[in-house]
């Protein structure tokens, strides 16, 4: 008997609890999943071009401090006076040397090789002979690096081509950082040497081995100079 009464009075309580649960559930919303903030490149209706990532207005340039290596947003007064570093030019002519802030060492060449193999080989090929994969799919062949004209140009010339594009080649300024452009240019020099080297350039012991090859010793001398042959 007691049980019956109890269950009758519990009925409405249960109903209320269920209703509360339903209300709570319907109150589930997604605003923690989608905060009032934007992930990189998320679209917005706020700007006419629907982009949250704004394009830099004309006349404004990115500010890159070569000393601290910090790229900050934009500045109306471009401190891009370092044309050597940014454009590969010294007083209007192509620079012959690396800028002072980029020391020549093995790390630079290896960095250059890495970046070259990401961004350049699709068209220029692993050896820089202009026989990249894309040229078999309808892209016109770029010139080989191993022609006389390109052997004779200054180092800054390659940086200029990467920065501003050349012929059908688009600019890579948005993809390859200024520092990496110098690394790649230096690596191009390595490639050029690799295709035009004379035996006298080898260290004496390596030359000796090359003349009398011994299978075991072949792997002792590894480095960027030998890597690019694969």
């Amino acid at each position: 008997m007691n049980y019956e009464i109890a269950s009758r009075t519990r009925g409405p309580k249960h109903a209320a609890l269920c209703a509360a649960c339903l209300v709570a559930l319907s109150g589930c919303h997604w605003d923690m999943w989608n905060n009032a903030r934007y992930k990189p490149l998320e679209p917005t209706t706020f700007f006419a071009d629907n982009a949250t990532a704004r394009t830099v207005p004309p006349g404004i340039v990115p500010y890159y401090d070569t000393e601290s290596k910090v790229l900050s947003v934009a500045s109306t007064e471009p401190p891009l006076t370092d044309t050597h570093y940014f454009q590969g030019k010294v007083e209007g002519a192509f620079a012959k040397t690396l800028p002072a802030s980029v020391p020549l060492n093995r790390a630079l060449i290896e960095r250059g090789q890495r970046q070259f193999e990401i961004y350049c080989i699709p068209c220029h090929g692993k050896l820089g002979d202009g026989q990249g994969m894309i040229t078999t799919r309808g892209f016109p062949n770029p010139p080989s690096y191993h022609i006389d004209r390109l052997r004779q140009v200054e180092l800054g010339y390659f940086v200029d081509v990467m920065t501003n594009g050349f012929g059908r080649m688009y600019s890579y300024a948005s993809r390859v950082k200024p520092e990496d452009r110098w690394a790649i240019a230096s690596y191009i020099r390595v490639l050029q040497l690799s295709q035009n080297a004379t035996p006298e350039l080898l260290p004496a012991d390596v030359l000796e081995q090359a003349k009398n090859p011994q299978p075991a010793a072949a792997e002792a001398h590894e480095g960027p100079q030998s890597n690019e042959h694969d």
Binding site: M1, Y3, E4, M32, W33, N34, N35, R37, K39, P40, L41, P43, D49, N50, A51, A53, T55, E117, I118, Y119, I121, P122, M133, I134, R137, G138, F139, P140, R168, M169, Y170, S174, R175
Partner: protein, 218 residues
């Protein structure tokens, strides 16, 4: 006083226990099947994209490196989605003028960015960072699957918290040498645990802190 329950109720009471267990199992079973199904997790489901971009064609077919397009994956939290300029670098010549490229061409002419549909999307209350993973030997294929074999991009993993933690509690099971991070075909060697432990040491992975809530919920 009249009997509330007829004698048959005994039978009912016994069997109702069984039915209750069966019923609960069924509900939980169906609910979790739905929860883990691609309908909810979106694993393996490809999204409609403005242009039928194929990673298989570009990565396996043309041998492009991920970084050619996802330029910031090594240096920032965000992997980066290629600008229209990147597509035009090749498609100003290759297959130029084909109808399927109209959205690319329109975007290039108008300056209006392409709108790709996101495939992997964490909730906004989770912090994720590509560069730390890529620089500590966690390969793209561990989290994104064989992207190089995808004709249309799809999500390869659930990206549930449990999935992140499965690795964060024992990274040695998944970690690989840094020079293999972009190798889509990498498979763990037979002595992965041993190799993995060495790499965890070598790369200074701080395993102790990887389960802290505040690493991902900041």
């Amino acid at each position: 006083m009249a009997q509330v329950f007829p004698p048959g109720a005994n039978w009912l009471a016994k069997w109702s226990i069984l039915f209750a267990i069966l019923g609960v199992t069924l509900v939980v079973g169906v609910a979790s099947a739905v929860y883990w199904s691609p309908v909810v997790t979106q694993v393996g489901v490809h999204k409609k994209q403005p242009v039928p971009f194929s990673h298989q064609r570009h990565v396996q077919g043309n041998g492009l490196d991920c970084r050619y397009c996802h330029t910031s994956v090594e240096t920032s939290p965000f992997a980066g989605i290629p600008a229209t300029e990147t597509c035009m670098t090749c498609h100003s010549q290759v297959l130029a003028g084909q109808e399927m490229f109209n959205p690319v061409k329109e975007s290039w002419d108008s300056g209006q960015p392409m709108e790709w549909t996101r495939v992997n999307d964490l909730p906004d209350f989770v912090y994720f960072n590509h560069s730390i993973h890529v620089n500590k030997g966690v390969g793209c294929s561990t989290c994104h699957g064989r992207v190089d074999e995808m004709r249309l991009t799809y999500k390869a993993e659930t990206l549930h918290m449990g999935w992140c933690l499965r690795c964060h509690e024992a990274p040695e099971k998944f970690i690989r040498p840094k020079d293999q991070v972009f190798n889509m075909a990498w498979e763990p060697p037979s002595d992965q645990l041993e190799q993995g432990r060495k790499l965890v040491q070598e790369y200074n992975v701080e395993v102790g802190q990887l389960l802290n809530c505040s690493i991902c919920h900041r």
